[in-house]
Amino acid sequence: MNNRPHNLLTNIDWISILLYTILVLMGWLNIYAATYDESHSSILDFSQRYGKQLVWIAAAFGIGFIILLTDSKFFTAFSMIIYGGMILLLVLVLIVGEESKGARSWFELGSVRVQPAEFAKFATCLAVAHVMSRHNFQVMRFSNLLLLGFLLAFPAGLIILQNDTGSALVYSSFILVFYREGMHGSILLLCFVATALFVISILYAPFVVLATILCGALVAHYYYRHDLRETLFIALLLTALFFLGYLLRWLFHWDITNFHLLLGAYVLISVASLYPVYKRKLNRMVLLLLVSWACVGISASVDVMFDKLQPHQQARINELLGVIEDSKGVGYNVTQSKIAIGSGGLTGKGFLQGTQTKYNFVPEQSTDFIFCTVGEEWGFVGSTIVILLFLAFILRIVKLAERQRSTFSRVYGYGVASILFFHVAVNIGMTIGMMPVIGIPLPFFSYGGSSLWAFTILIFIFLRLDSNRLQVFR
């Protein structure tokens, strides 16, 4: 026991610590830029957000340090108690919490406001790790799936009751963890297809949706048939028919859209393929045709349904999806965000030189839309570096998770990676208009103590577990 500090220093993953520190500091620079104002000169102005964030960062380092000094058995032994305590806090915040921007999700402790939903993530991660590391645990057993579902639905449901749907959606990221631990791949695929279909139906034009579905169908065709020539032949036929229609439209001035042309081509091919499918009894191909048509039907009906709805009903569905309410008209936030990012160019306008972000054109620019500042001031180069740093960090955690001897640590590590990935993908995706506007923070970048501390705890518990990996057996 005497050499514990020594062990800690050598066994800890310094690469992760380094990546964490770089990301946190970059985050602070961007908060400084986003809230920068000539009239407040000192960086230690605690009335300003960047001043406060500096305090949160210092505290986060403190929290990380304390976690590294804690015995890792504490986290494994008390995981369910921590989870239970966090559920209690989530219930409590519903009763005595403060309301802000329509969400009742804050505890007010003097001048500090704490958001328990942020901390529920690491607690849930611990609980999932605990359950899945039980002896002989098999994900595909129905009772186990049910148990895991409950474990996630509990905090997620309470967070939805707080009116903070964005934070609740984070729990869907655990599907990656389950997949790693043996869940059937088709479930992951199904979830992915369903979500993707829904999201792109709302976000994109019908043509893009249909093209995506057809690409998916072609991939599936190859997967089942293992006949590249046939797949390519179908793709070629489809393209040829589409351009034939394009030509005919140009010649005869037909009043139809690209979507109609592609749909027509697809109908022709489907009908034509019925004969060989019937003749050769290709049952899987029947399934493929049916599924692809079902996808087209669903996406079309999502579209039509959504258009037929009253504006306030649409808003309600957006709310259900956790889409932030748009105060200045539909598309305003995202348009402004895209303008800010797009105007950054290759190398950006330079630190503190962003005009769009300083104009306060982008709402929530120091919290949910902080990536706009990155995009505008640091340009394509800076944005790519930030994305790559996040990717490196997440992949590093995946790698660390794989080297764990205990299932607990591995599951927990995958949980950390999945949560981080979900946050980064959804947050950056929404600022560049590829995801619905869901109000969740960008880890280490978005302003706010709760989010920073929660991610710090989440990550440092894993680093602590990792530093102890040699002493733990299954």
């Binding site: 008209g329 303008i339 590829m434």
Partner: protein, 605 residues
């Protein structure tokens, strides 16, 4: 478990591919596609607020009283301001250098990137000359708006005025943003939501010199402004004008009501102010001057002032006395320049025939008679004690619309005051009361307080022989938030009203209200003189006409007018004649002239 170890590569692949897609997307946005850069270089979008015109205000005959005029605001975007001709700006808008510096700093404090108003409500002619020089003022531009145009030069107490919203109001209602106008008093305030309409917005793209380059997304996100809705008042503007002229140089108030409908025909608080003073470049200066005026023109003397009612209250005492059966029209009381009353005191009165009959008591406004009536009411054997009898009397008085706010159209209306039993318990320090303790209420003095509007409502109740309709100055708009207009019936028999009205007719024909008389118009009235410890007594007169099927009921209240008969009665008579006949007979022209010219404000000062 490690048979699933290969899946780490699939998971990693998902993560990498998402990041790659994002990076490609960013590359397209940031490097390939120029549209967003152009939009940003254009200094992007300005949201131009489209200000709707406020609703118009009409009188009962459809005459336009209040509309809008074009006005211009000089806006600045502090960050874009460069050197400019300070002296020219100062002289154009009559500012001092200090004012300009102070305002520019305030604008900068709000935001150095967003536009704020430097000078607001610039009149058209000034705008025209300045506009040509505008190119020499970088960072300055003009915003077009409308401001109020009042077609009456008085009655600010009725219409009120608009002013810029305060930070508090913005906090309360997010509809408003800095620089917006909001109704600050009078009808402008009460009907703010009705009159204001709905702001629109236009998102435009502007270049770095703030020149509009075009609309954003072909106006897809624009919103049209919705013009405010019009207001139809019940005022008769000719009568209102006339009443204002009669009240010139006198302090006090007039309220005239159409009895059958409760519609307010005229409402004058004197001295008043011209609401147009609150519009334009000078409005700040004008407002400060009005506020500093010792005659308090901003104070609405018809709804906010509370006075003891004085002798007009005797009509209510008579009605309650008759209804309770404690007196009859045959009751007489001796009075020789006054009479000894309960508690061993002597109540003074002026000289008139004795003993006094019921009708004569109203005609002569006999004090001892009403001390007798009130004493009878309080010592009614139906109640065990004076305190309980008072409680019942208080309820009956309240039915006349006293002690509570009457008219929903005036937000600042005072409620008046009828003391509660508990109030007197405290004052008298006992629950065992004697009538003599509170006997001055008998003649409308003492702790009683009522507003001139409530007094006018008493005249309405008398004219209607027992009911009133919620007094109002705005015709129903059909808006659900508007307070309903309700008929209130009093539980007093109609015949008692007729008895009192007989006395009130004698007031006009041979009593204290002779000065109100107009040939061929049967009138009923009651004078009052309210003791004023601070100076000359106040002169009060309520009246209605014609006696049968009345068309107008009114109150005239002249502060320091000494007797009801001296100013209040003649003014009331002239107003009734003007309203019913449309003109003043030659016989009364000298009286009219005398009323126009008499000055109770400046003569003593």
């Amino acid at each position: 478990m490690n048979k699933f170890g290969y899946r780490q590569w699939i998971i990693a692949a998902i993560m990498v591919s998402v990041c790659v897609v994002y990076i490609i997307r960013l590359f397209i946005y940031q490097v390939v596609d120029d549209t967003y850069k152009v939009m940003a270089d254009n200094n992007s979008q300005h949201i131009e607020i489209q200000y709707p015109a406020r609703g118009l205000i009409y009188d009962r005959n459809g005459k336009l009283l209040v509309d809008n005029q074009a006005s211009y605001d000089l806006m600045i975007v502090p960050r874009q301001v460069r050197e400019f001709d300070t002296l020219e700006l100062l002289s154009t808008f009559e500012l001092t250098k200090e004012e300009l510096v102070e305002r520019m700093q305030a604008c900068k404090k709000y935001s150095s990137y967003k536009p704020s108003i430097l000078v607001s409500q610039i009149p058209g002619d000034k705008y025209a000359t300045f506009q040509e020089k505008l190119y020499r003022y970088p960072g300055f531009y003009i915003q077009t708006r409308t401001s109020r145009k009042y077609h009456v030069t008085h009655s600010g107490d009725v219409f009120g005025y608009t002013s810029e919203v305060t930070a508090e109001q913005i906090e309360k209602d997010p509809y408003y943003s800095p620089g917006d106008y909001i109704g600050a008093s009078g009808l402008e305030r009460t009907y703010e939501k009705w009159l204001r309409g709905k702001k629109g917005k236009k998102i435009v793209l502007v270049d770095n010199k703030s020149r509009v380059q075009g609309s954003f997304h072909d106006g897809e996100y624009d919103e049209e402004a919705v013009v405010g809705k019009d207001l139809h008042t019940t005022l008769d503007i000719d009568l209102q004008d006339y009443a204002v002229r009669l009240m010139r140089n006198k302090k006090g108030g007039i309220v005239a009501i159409e009895p059958s409908t409760g519609e307010i025909l005229a409402k004058v608080s004197s001295p008043g102010y011209d609401p147009q003073l609150m519009v334009g470049l000078e409005r700040g200066k004008n407002y400060r001057a009005l506020q500093a005026d010792s005659l308090t023109p901003l104070f609405d003397r018809t709804t906010m002032a509370q006075y003891p009612p004085g002798s007009i209250f005797k009509t209510i005492q008579a009605l309650i006395g008759l209804q309770n059966g404690v007196i009859t029209t045959a009751t007489t009381v001796p009075c020789h320049g006054g009479a000894p009353i309960t508690g061993g005191r002597f109540m003074k009165c002026h000289w008139h025939d004795s003993p006094v009959t019921f009708e004569a008591s109203i005609e002569n406004s006999c004090n001892p008679y009403y001390v007798h009536v009130f004493q009878k009411i309080l010592e009614d054997s139906k109640f065990g004690n004076v305190r309980d009898a008072y409680g019942e009397w208080r309820k009956q008085v309240a039915q006349f619309g006293l002690g509570d706010r009457l008219c929903p159209d005036f937000i600042n209306e005072s409620a008046g005051f009828i003391p509660t039993q508990e109030y007197y318990d405290k004052v008298l320090k006992t629950k065992r009361w004697y009538a003599s303790y509170i006997i001055s209420l008998a003649i409308g003095q003492g702790e009683l307080l009522i507003t001139p509007l409530q007094m006018a409502n008493i005249a309405t109740i008398l004219a209607n022989r027992g009911y009133y309709v919620t007094p109002h100055i705005v015709r129903p708009t059909g808006d659900s938030t508007q307070a309903p207009i309700v008929r209130h019936d009093l539980p007093i028999k109609r015949e008692y009203f007729e008895d009192v009205i007989k006395g009130m007719e004698r007031v006009i024909t041979q009593g204290t209200g002779k000065m109100a008389r107009a040939d061929s118009i049967p009138m009923a009235g009651k004078t009052g003189t309210v003791q004023n410890p601070h100076g000359d007594d106040h002169s009060v007169f309520i009246a209605f006409a014609p006696v049968e099927n009345p068309k107008i009921a009114l109150i005239v209240y002249v502060e320091n007018g000494v007797w009801g008969s001296r100013y209040a009665a003649p003014i009331a008579g002239l107003l009734i004649e003007k309203y019913l006949k449309g003109k003043i007979s030659d016989k009364k022209k000298p009286l009219e002239k005398q009323m126009f010219e008499s000055d109770l404000v400046h003569s003593k000062a």
